[in-house]
Symmetry: C2
Subunit: 207 residues, 2 copies
C-alpha cells in the first residue's frame, strides 16, 4: 500500500535528511539548482517551493552554500557506493564493468535532477567543501580504474591507455545528467544497457 516514495532506505532519496522541513527545503533546492543553476537560484525561490518563508531556510541551514554541500555530499556518496559495489562484486571484470556502468548511468538518468546539481555545480562550493567532494570523486575514479586494470591483467580487456580510458568511461556516464530528459523516448534502464554495451566495446572486452 506504500508508494516508492514512502518506503525508506536506498530507494528513497533524502531519507537521511531530517526533520521533514529540512528535507522539503533540500528537495526544493535540488529542483531549483537543477533548473536554473546555483547562482541563478534565490533563497526566496527555494523557500517558496517548499511552502515556507525565506527566513525558515536559515533555521535548518547556515547558508545557501551549505544546502548545496549537503546535496552534493549525499549524491556523491550514493554514486560512489554504486561504483564500489559493482567493483567489489564477484564475477568477471566484464560483468563488473557492465554492472558499474549500468547502475551509474541509471542513477544519472533516473535522478538526473539531482545528478545535474551534483556534477555541474562543484565550482559553487566553498573551498573546504569542494576539497571534500573532490576526494570522493577520486575514489570513484579509482573504483572504475581498478575494474579496468584487472580486466587487462586477466587478458579480458585490450586497453592501451588505462587512465585515459577510465576518464572517458566516467565522462561518458556523467554527461548523461546533462542531456537526459524524462520526456524523451529512452528509459533510464535502456540507456544503462546501451552504455554498458558501448563501454565493453571501448575496453575491447572478449565476447
Amino acid at each position: 500500500m506504500s508508494t516508492a516514495e514512502e518506503t525508506d532506505g536506498e530507494n528513497t532519496p533524502w531519507s537521511e535528511v531530517t526533520p521533514e522541513a529540512a528535507r522539503r527545503l533540500l528537495v526544493a533546492a535540488v529542483e531549483a539548482f537543477a533548473e536554473r543553476g546555483y547562482h541563478a537560484t534565490t533563497t526566496r525561490d527555494i523557500a517558496g517551493r517548499a511552502g515556507m518563508s525565506p527566513a525558515a531556510l536559515y533555521i535548518h541551514y547556515k547558508t545557501k552554500e551549505e544546502l548545496l554541500h549537503r546535496i552534493s555530499r549525499i549524491g556523491h556518496d550514493r554514486a560512489l557506493r554504486l561504483l564500489e559495489t559493482a567493483a567489489d562484486s564477484g564475477g568477471t571484470p566484464s560483468d563488473r564493468l557492465a554492472d558499474a556502468v549500468r547502475s551509474f548511468v541509471r542513477w544519472h538518468a533516473e535522478r538526473h535532477t539531482t545528478a545535474r546539481v551534483v556534477q555541474y555545480e562543484l565550482e559553487a562550493l566553498g573551498d573546504g567543501h569542494r576539497a571534500e567532494i573532490v576526494a570522493l570523486r577520486r575514489k570513484s575514479d579509482a573504483a572504475v580504474r581498478r575494474i579496468i586494470s584487472e580486466g587487462v591483467r586477466a587478458g579480458e580487456f585490450d586497453v592501451p591507455d588505462v587512465p585515459g580510458t577510465t576518464l572517458a568511461v566516467l565522462s561518458l556516464c556523467i554527461d548523461v545528467a546533462r542531456w537526459f530528459n524524462a520526456q524523451g523516448s529512452r528509459t533510464p534502464e535502456e540507456v544503462g544497457t546501451l552504455y554498458a554495451d558501448l563501454v565493453l566495446r571501448m575496453v575491447g572486452a572478449q565476447k
Copy 2:
C-alpha cells in the same frame, strides 16, 4: 614574426568581432563565464578584465545576454563546421568518423574555456536565442549520424542503435570541455587521438 594570435582566419578566434574594444570585452566575458558561470559573472567584472568601465559594455552590446549569445553562436558555428568538414571529406566512414572526433575533441580541449561556455551555458540564453542555437546543435547531431549510418550501410560498422550511439559519441566529446585542464598531462592532440580510437571501437569498426 607573427605569433599565432596575430595571424587571421581560422586559427585566431574572435577575429570576426570588431571593433577591437568589442572583441576585448567578448574575450573577457568568455574567461569570466568559463571560470564562474554566466550568472555569477557581473558586468563590472567583464568590463574590468577588458580594462574599461561598466558602462562601456553597453556601447557594444545591448545586454549581458547578447554577449553570451554572440559567444555561443560563434562557438557553435565553429564546432558545426569541424564536424561537417569531416563528414563531407572523402575517405571511408572510419576515416571520416575518426577525423570528426579528433578535430571536435581537439577544439574542446584547446579552446576549453570557450567550449565550456558554449556547452554549459545554454540555459542562460533567452528563448529566441536558445532556439537558434538548438537548431545548430541538431545539425551537429545530423552530421555525426550521417557518418555512422553510412558506415553501417557499407558494412564497416556494427551499430545496433544508431541514434543512441550518435548521442553517446557527441556526449563523450562534449564532456571534454568539462574536465580538460591545460595544466594536465595530456595535450589536446593526444586526447583527440585517444578518443578517435575509443569511438571507432564503440562503432565496431573493422580494423
